[in-house]
């Protein structure tokens, strides 16, 4: 298995590629990986699960204002509230990142299965890790604020 440092570098590259190429938004890595983030407030999280030789979850956490800007850019139309379009767009970003993570972990494709993407959102919620998982949170800066890509993999 790749080290988490290698995974981090490739995930940063993938995130920037997805935002530049498909969301049409310039984003940048914003410092060292974090070990945890506090309760998420007025945010939306897109996530996909990994099963098979690597088990875990990839999540991407956006404050609402960033999620709205991302969705507006992604769809090429103004979006003013967290609705089905935003959930679908954020889920699809998690799906693309999950696909890239799967390729990073295994380039053959059959030994890791990806779940369909899902989203959670609300005024305040926690995204907690399992005790037996290795976890990293990558911070990114967008023109509308910070967002975070989180990976948890079972040890």
């Amino acid at each position: 298995m790749n080290s988490f440092a290698e995974i981090n570098d490739k995930l940063i590259e993938s995130t920037i590629e997805i935002f530049t190429g498909m969301v049409m938004m310039e984003v940048a890595s914003a410092g060292d990986p974090l070990e945890k983030i506090g309760p998420l407030k007025k945010s939306i999280t897109g996530m996909v699960g990994l099963a098979g030789t690597h088990k875990g979850v990839l999540a991407v956490h956006f404050p609402n204002e960033v999620a709205l800007a991302v969705t507006s850019n992604f769809l090429g139309m103004e979006v003013g509230e967290i609705n089905e379009d935003v959930q679908d767009a954020i889920g699809e970003i998690a799906n693309m990142l999950g696909g890239n993570l799967k390729t990073i972990l295994s380039d053959r494709g059959r030994d890791i299965q990806l779940s369909l993407p899902s989203t959670i959102f609300g005024d305040e919620y926690a995204f907690s890790s399992q005790a037996e998982s290795e976890q990293v949170i990558l911070p990114f800066q967008s023109p509308n604020g910070m967002f975070y890509v989180e990976v948890e993999l079972e040890r």
């Binding site: 498909m22 679908d88 699809e92 693309m96 999950g98 696909g99 295994s106 494709g109 059959r110």
Partner: protein, 123 residues
Amino acid sequence: MAKNVLLVDDSSTMRKIISRSLRQAGLDFGEIYEAGDGQEALAMLEKEAIDIVLSDINMPNMNGIEFLREKANRPGIKDIPVFMISTETGEDIIGEAKSLGAIGALKKPFTPEKVNEVLGPLM
């Protein structure tokens, strides 16, 4: 003559993005039809005059691989070409898709330039 395209993806966002990318790539195509999974795609192929299918793999109800397998058993639609557009680009999965008749694959994320490069010759 411009080809009619069926986009198969459970994400409405992704269907919009692919549709936009086809336009931005300057490709000449006819009608764009949409389906949210393999089952809807099969029904659409039976009903509409579709020339090429651009399909995701990881979808609910009937995924892209199951769609290819089922389509191959339906004489009226089995020869309509299918091109995969997916985050799933592992060689095992793409190999299976090709063995079931897929004519190629494009990895998400993609740019309009990449869409033009790989789909241009098919349009």
